[in-house]
């Protein structure tokens, strides 16, 4: 399969690889996919106020899955939670010129962002309920 230059770039030099402390209250973690499907993405965000100040990922998957998650971390860094939630998989498809068989990689990246933001929000929720 021929890959676009941007996919090869993200695959060869993935941005923001690593892990944040998943037990920290300021960190949201999203893990999506499944090993038997051939792709698992873990995307983590560090939040201050309502802004994402850092993002890290680790991905088990094809080159397009690695590139989609790498690009996602690049895009959400510095964004507010709402701005991050507004990212659509189609934007990832366009940016990386993903072929139709690889669209699910971009869907997974969008799901990972949402899962990470929701995880962060659920960590905050109990605190707000406390008197």
């Amino acid at each position: 399969m021929a890959y676009s230059k941007k996919v090869i770039d993200h695959y060869s030099n993935p941005r923001n690889v690593g892990s944040l402390d998943k037990s920290a209250s300021t960190v949201g973690t999203g893990v999506v996919g499944a090993p038997e499907c051939g792709d698992v993405m873990k995307l983590q965000i560090q939040v201050e106020g309502d802004r994402i100040v850092d993002a890290k990922f680790k991905t088990f998957g094809c080159g397009s899955a690695i590139a989609s998650s790498s690009l996602a971390t690049e895009w959400i860094k510095g964004k507010t939670l709402d701005e991050a939630l507004a990212i659509q998989n189609t934007q990832i498809v366009e940016e990386l010129s993903l072929p139709p068989v690889k669209i699910h990689c971009s869907v997974l990246a969008e799901d990972a962002i949402k899962a990470a933001v929701n995880d962060y929000k659920s960590k905050q929720a109990p605190k707000e309920q406390q008197p």
Partner: protein, 405 residues
């Protein structure tokens, strides 16, 4: 060293220059139709075809009259399975094969099921091997054919052909074996191994593409087939069509070379394969051998690198040409049906790479490939959330994954 290094010898092989040299005169000077009985051009072509028939027969211990030329193994399989089924349908309608066979066999079996035949798909063991006991247990009074491959094209596992052949002959059931990967790599003898029908293909043994044979036993028992191609009645009525003389000459030469060089080449490729395997297993953790350590082709190595996805690994070793059982590398988006049949686990099927060693592979190339793949696996594991879990002592298999994609 020429890059990328070719290590996909189970997919195809380059023509040996000695094969090309033997073929060349038959494109231009000796271009006759082997069926022309009235002039020198035809006689020359026929003579060349008969010489090739002899060279091929010798490789598999057959009589030259038992060799039917085809366009390759897929056609041979179609002719053997459909031809036998149609000819012997009155005797019975049951066929035995295995779920780890090549798609050429499985798809023909499916076709025959639609025609009213009943097919038993044996499950191989975890190493991809079918036992003679499993075949014996599946045999029925109405079984007309057992179709099992000699060597698996993905994992290189060898089936116990001689035992299965003996059983079939004892029970009066015809035995077809796909020897596409085995011919020229391991000794094949249709007499000693009790084989009734066998196919092989030119391009897997350093011959040209688009040519192969079907061996059809003539005595004890005499196998009869319904032709699948109607026409001029070539090849004793079993396969009509003007013979592809240059390719047949090439296939003959390829078989002659394969027979002469088999002992030395099997030892040489096995040594290179073992070296590759040793390096991978010494320098990486969480590595699984797919196949059978004892009963396997000398030139095949199929390995799953846990927690690394196959397509991304292939992307990381772009200077080494290999194949993967990963879903992402196949047109169907399904992981290898062979690894699934062997029940190695979907996760490991996604992580598998097949290395094929061949006549032109050097020690230098093997070391280059080993270093590339080891480096790429290490790099990709740093990116892998599953490897991280494994190092933390969590088996990703025990996690309840949420996305049933």
């Amino acid at each position: 060293m020429k890059l990328p290094i070719y290590m996909d010898y189970q997919a195809t092989t380059p023509c040996d220059p000695r094969v090309v040299e033997a073929m060349l005169p038959y494109f231009t000077e000796s271009f006759g139709n082997a069926a022309s009985r009235n002039h020198r051009y035809g006689w020359e072509a026929e003579e060349a075809v008969e010489k090739a028939r002899g060279q091929i027969a010798e490789l598999i211990g057959a009589n030259p009259k038992e060799i039917v030329f085809t366009s390759g193994s897929t056609e041979s399989i179609n002719l053997a399975l459909k031809g036998v089924a149609e000819m012997y349908a009155e005797k019975g309608k049951h066929i035995i094969t295995c779920s780890a066979e090549h798609k050429a066999v499985l798809d023909v079996a499916k076709h025959l099921e639609q025609q009213g035949f009943e097919v038993t798909y044996l499950q191989p063991d975890k190493s991809g091997r079918v036992s003679v006991e499993a075949v014996a247990a599946a045999l029925r009074p109405d079984t007309i054919l057992v179709a099992l491959m000699w060597a698996n094209n993905e994992v290189g596992t060898l089936n116990p052909i001689r035992e299965i052949g003996a059983l079939c002959h004892e029970k009066g059931v015809l035995f077809f074996t796909d020897a596409t990967q085995a011919a020229g790599k391991v000794p094949v003898d249709v007499e000693a191994d009790h084989v009734d029908l066998l196919c092989l293909s030119g391009h897997k043994i350093y011959g040209p593409k688009g040519v192969g044979i079907l061996y059809v036993r003539r005595r004890n028992p005499r196998v009869r087939l319904v032709a699948q191609m109607d026409g001029g009645g070539h090849e004793r009525g079993m396969r009509s069509g003007t013979l592809n003389v240059p390719s047949i000459v090439g296939l003959g030469k390829a078989c002659e070379l394969a027979r002469q060089e088999l002992p030395s080449e099997a030892a040489r490729t096995a040594a290179l394969r073992d070296h590759l395997e040793k390096r991978i297993f010494a320098e990486l953790d969480f590595v699984h051998l797919n196949g059978n350590r004892e009963h396997r082709l000398p030139n095949n190595l199929n390995v799953s690198f846990a927690y690394v996805e196959g397509e991304s690994l292939i992307m990381g070793i772009s200077d080494v040409a290999v194949s993967s059982g990963s879903a992402c590398t196949s047109a169907s988006l399904e992981p290898s049906h062979v690894l699934r049949a062997m029940d190695v686990g979907e996760d490991l099927a996604h992580s598998s790479i097949r290395f094929g060693i061949g006549r032109f592979t050097t020690q230098e190339e093997v070391d280059f490939a080993a270093s590339s793949v080891i480096g790429a696996v290490k790099r990709l594991r740093e990116l892998s959330p599953l490897y991280e879990m494994a190092l933390e002592g969590i088996d990703p298999k025990t996690v309840n994954w949420q996305a049933p994609h």
